[in-house]
């Protein structure tokens, strides 16, 4: 477990997809990978090079791809469907009726989640995907904090029956789990403990939360940091424990706060352990810029988290 945010190797969570699927197929899983003309960007295309007979291109047609993925799953395969997060949203009703309702074994692994997609601008930046796919009650929804965790999530998704959504990201960001993944489905992972507040984060905001915790420590404030990489089912016990032990929560994510980890955490805590909460998230559409400029524009930074921490502690 790593507890400090020193210099770490950089990698994008999307880079885990192709190599992990290759390994899982070599290990004897009955995979099929379907793609909508973005296999180079999602890294799923690497799977095609190893297993061309198990890789199916559906062109730029996500709706067809998702319903076809459901058909493959109905025939017994574990199906990975890959595209960008925004284009996955294009196939919402297909995911709802063809996948979620019959609970078929389709794993939607979508890259370019969040405003860190950057230069392509607002249309390419998914700020609502986690809310959209969490609204499908039979889906498990995860987003990894780094490339190591991405690999672990894909492996668990393969071995867990039913619909999955996994959001990966475009930019290369620091590896947190340099000593190996600690991922357990449906369980938050505590990266750092503290008694003054808890920062609950997912995706790229996890590493930024660790840096915020270091800043807070210099002021004498000790923050617990939870990596909530499983968003559905949410680890309510971890949230409740954090609320009870620290009395204040900051929820940080690269997503619409009300429709994402923030909204869902508040909903979960309201009936068991309500405490002051602050939310570091997206609240509007993005624009063009580098990925780090976009995160700064939206205050999804260590400073932004520290500001929210001060606010929430004042409300205790």
């Amino acid at each position: 477990m790593m507890a400090t945010a020193e210099v770490h190797p950089l990698a994008a969570t999307r880079e885990a997809v192709g190599p992990t699927l290759i390994r899982l197929q070599k290990e004897g899983n009955n995979l099929v990978v379907v793609d909508a003309d973005l296999g180079k960007s999602t890294s799923a295309r690497k799977f095609r090079d190893e297993f061309p007979e198990r890789f199916f291109s559906f062109g730029v047609a996500e709706q067809n791809m998702i319903s076809a993925a459901a058909g493959f799953a109905a025939a017994g395969h574990t199906v990975f469907a890959t595209t960008f997060a925004v284009f996955a949203e294009h196939a919402f009703d297909q995911l709802r009726m063809s996948v979620a309702q019959p609970q078929l074994n389709v794993k939607l692994v979508a890259s370019h989640g969040g405003v860190s997609t950057g230069e392509d601008g607002a249309s390419a930046q998914s700020i609502e995907d986690i809310g959209v796919f969490s609204s499908l009650p039979t889906f498990t929804v995860c987003t990894p904090a780094d490339v190591v965790e991405a690999e672990a999530i894909i492996e668990v998704a393969t071995k867990t029956p039913g619909p999955f959504y996994v959001r990966t990201a475009r930019p290369k960001t620091p590896v947190i789990y340099t000593d190996g993944a600690q991922f357990e489905l449906g369980r938050a992972h505590m990266l750092r403990d503290g008694g003054d507040l808890t920062i609950v984060a997912c995706g790229l905001l996890v590493e930024r939360s660790l840096r915020a915790a270091e800043q807070l420590a210099k002021e004498g404030l000790e923050a617990r940091v939870l990596n909530m990489s499983t968003i559905r089912p949410l680890d309510v016990a971890a949230l409740e424990g954090a609320a009870r032990d620290t009395g204040a929560l900051v929820i940080a994510e690269e997503h619409l706060s009300y429709a994402g980890l923030g909204g869902m955490s508040a909903h979960a805590l309201a009936s068991v352990e309500p405490v002051p909460m602050e939310f570091v998230g997206v609240n509007r559409y993005g624009e063009s810029g580098t990925w780090s400029e976009m995160l700064e524009l939206m205050d999804l930074t260590p400073d932004g988290i520290v500001t929210a921490a001060h606010k929430v502690i004042d409300r205790k």
Binding site: F58, Q63, S67, A68, A73, A74, M97
Partner: protein
């Protein structure tokens, strides 16, 4: 109990019983889709009786043909067939659309056994069937086929054409699209709402092998078309059947009022009299 259809008269009798079930179910439920169920009754009766490789005693038999009901509002005809073929008791048809039933208004995969897809939102079945067919090919299930029933109104959906393009691209031989061209959709005649024609030329241009202008109420013609379709190689096959919405009940035929509305008491009595032995 698996039903055996030995003679043409057996088949004709089956279609009559199916039509009676359809009218009874929608009348009992006070909702449901009679018109498109009756227009596809002959198509599906011939399919289930003579062409679909299926085993009512083992609904999850892996090597079965898959029948995909893409126009998922026409569950009455499929439920009636599944019951007649012994997938579940015929008495259960009276639970259609009622609380606690396995027979929901629109198709739910696995409920009851024999339903191989979820449907209701139109336009998804051909894609789903394509995935199944490509999986059959990957698994070298050479004898298996996938049959997908779509409505002609359903051809409005863009996803149908995504599926059409990719089925030809992937050379999905053994995938058979069946179009129930009854000329009426929810609100009105298809020509008034959204004209999808010329369907034959469209599917052909997308790379399919197409047979059209088949009488969808002539049991022999339907039989021959399915035989022909099963044995086509190299490309997916589209069979376009000309049918009559509401077929078998005179006042429902060609009548847009009976797409999704139940019959009144009087209409029910008249319909059952027309469908009597």
């Amino acid at each position: 109990m698996t039903m055996v259809i030995e003679t043409q008269q057996d088949l004709v009798e089956l279609t009559r019983r199916i039509r009676r079930h359809v009218v009874q179910m929608v009348y009992d439920a006070k909702s449901g889709h009679i018109g498109g169920s009756l227009s596809s009754t002959d198509l599906l009766s011939v399919l289930y009786a003579k062409h679909l490789r299926h085993d009512p005693g083992n609904p999850s038999w892996h090597e079965r043909d898959r029948f995909i009901m893409s126009k998922g509002h026409c569950t009455p005809v499929q439920y009636a067939l599944l019951a007649e073929f012994g997938y579940f008791p015929i008495q259960e048809l009276s639970t259609f659309r009622k609380i606690g039933t396995r027979l929901q208004g629109h198709s739910v995969l696995g409920k009851p056994p024999g339903i191989d897809n979820s449907a209701g939102s139109l336009g998804m079945g051909l894609s789903f069937g394509l995935g199944l067919r490509l999986a059959q090919q990957l698994q070298e299930l050479d004898e298996s086929r996938v049959w997908v029933l779509m409505g002609d109104g359903e051809q409005n959906e863009g996803q149908v054409w995504e599926a059409a393009m990719s089925a030809a691209h992937h050379q999905a031989e053994g995938l058979v699209a069946i179009v129930d061209r009854n000329g009426i959709q929810n609100d009105d005649f298809t020509k008034a709402t959204m004209n999808s024609e010329p369907l034959h030329e469209k599917y052909e241009a997308f790379g399919w092998t197409v047979l059209s202008d088949i009488d969808g109420h002539n049991l022999d013609e339907i039989d021959r078309a399915y035989d022909w379709a099963r044995n086509q190689r190299g490309a997916p096959v589209c069979l376009i059947f000309d049918t009559i919405k509401g077929k078998g009940v005179s006042f429902m035929e060609h009548n847009p009022a009976f797409h999704g509305a139940p019959p009144s008491d009087e209409e029910f009595t008249l319909a059952m009299a027309e469908l009597a032995e």
